[in-house]
Subunit: 301 residues, 2 copies
């Protein structure tokens, strides 16, 4: 079997776990890791000892798929660069409001270069999105509540860390019921910054402005970090004319581990789509897992 | 908007609820109901007063999709007949062992006639199959347990009713943990038949032979019938190298209502696939629900 050649682009939490997920995938091989920072390349983590590390993707053997483990805010640019080279991409872009725009933009480049991009391929957006569609299919009238956490939000944590005056940060998502959440933000302050000013910058950031947000200053953020997370999704709705149809879905997981695992599954699925950009709800789920169609249908349908 | 023209083929429990689901669907119109039995046509149920009822599908205005609400054991023949006429089909075929064979067979006819068939499009097989694939994608190593019920199994009940000597029947599925089930079968006996003989026929039927089955004779089966059902699906597995990832999915529903609702969603999806036969795990979930792509992605991803 020819293995799917993949590259990890960005080596933070998700990138690190992506390495393990690729290692566990029977149908994939890693051509290398892309990480821009010079200090990273000078001090490669031990697990990358025998792995090619480059500062740009074109320095590596050309992969079939680039697994983008970079912050949401640079995803669009990084994805475009890979697609321009004819390399498929998957990403965990997590700003729900602009997913459609990202899709439209990458769709043009992907089609032009005969490549495939699967965007927002984490758990929410991602597998949770598939669940929301399924629940709405089974009961078209009704309300779905997606309750996150309690758990560390990687997207929100990265967003806080990028704010001026924040030395280190952790953003925990706390469900308060019916799909409403509170953001519990723990920060270490850079010297010379005023807590009240930084707090205000956080609360008015687009990641936080719509939710109740409590910012707390702590001495050592690292002592608070646990990467467990979860979701409880609930729908009560109507199938046809029949009321009170009840659905629930829950997940309690190590967040970067499941995120990177889904990215790896989406990378596999890029090999089976026509050129273009897709969200997870547009991809047949069978394409996410390895194996031939007959075996998978006999086992799982 | 041009509506999707559908016909209901078979008017038992599922067919009756399919009528309500079609009525509630904004993008569908019913061209009629197909029901072979002559007594049915002489005594149409009141809700069909203004609806065309025919004994074969070619007597109706040609629908885009035939929604097959017939017993599993006649599904293959009925589906072939519709596909031969170039009509898409959806069915709730529920014998897991032979789904692949059904797909292979219908795929040939469908491709030949430029039609689409989505098979086994109920909740299990069907939406549960999608869940099993998703859970395996998120945690490739581990065990998924699908626990059904307690609830009335329509497929098993129909199977018992077709056994010689059974006047009326009900088969209730009882979960006993870790995906193991007991079948609780309640029957009224035809006069002149021996209970022990009938019990043996039931226990050796292919629907029952693999499960513990308890058959009880009752005076009036109808008093025991409640069409509520449910499922609890659980997976504990490994994402990449990370253990103890926990997933669960549960559903508590009116069984024929959700089954027919999913069939209607699959009927919609037939309009968006290339000719051929598909299981639910091969169909992008976005195709199951009405609406344009941009609206759905903005709302649900």
């Amino acid at each position: 079997m020819t293995k799917i050649k993949v590259a990890i682009v960005g080596y933070g939490n998700v990138g690190k776990y992506a390495l393990e997920a690729i290692d566990a995938a029977p149908d994939m091989e890693l051509v290398g890791v892309v990480e821009q920072s010079e200090s990273f390349q000078a001090n490669k983590p031990i697990e990358l000892t025998n792995i090619e590390v480059a500062s740009t993707i074109d320095e590596l053997e050309k992969p079939d798929v680039a697994i983008l483990c970079v912050p949401t805010r640079v995803t669009q640019d990084v994805a475009r660069q890979a697609l321009e080279l004819g390399i498929n991409t998957v990403d965990g872009y997590d700003m729900h409001d602009s997913i459609w725009d990202l899709k439209k933009d990458l769709d043009i480049v992907a089609k032009d270069k005969q490549a495939v991009s699967i965007i927002s391929a984490g758990w929410d957006p991602g597998t949770d999105s598939i669940m929301r569609v399924l629940m709405e299919a089974m009961a078209p009238k009704g309300i779905t509540y997606t309750n996150f956490g309690p758990g560390m939000s990687m997207g929100h944590t990265v967003a806080v860390k990028s704010i001026d005056g924040v030395k280190d940060a952790l953003s925990v998502t706390m469900p308060v019921g019916a799909g409403v959440h509170r953001r519990m933000v723990y920060i270490e302050l850079e010297e010379g910054y005023d807590f009240k000013e930084v707090e205000k910058s956080i609360k008015t950031d687009s990641y936080f402005i719509n939710d109740e947000t409590i910012v707390t200053q702590v001495d050592d953020v690292e002592l608070y970090v646990d990467r467990g997370h979860g979701v409880e999704m609930e729908r009560k709705g109507v199938s046809g004319a029949t009321q009170n149809q009840l659905f629930s879905y829950s997940m309690k997981i190590n967040n970067p581990a499941v995120t990177s695992q889904i990215l790896i599954c989406a990378a596999r699925a890029t090999m089976k789509q026509e050129p273009g950009a897709y969200t997870m709800i547009e991809v047949p789920v069978i394409d996410l897992i390895p194996g031939d169609k007959e075996t998978l249908i006999r086992k799982l349908v």
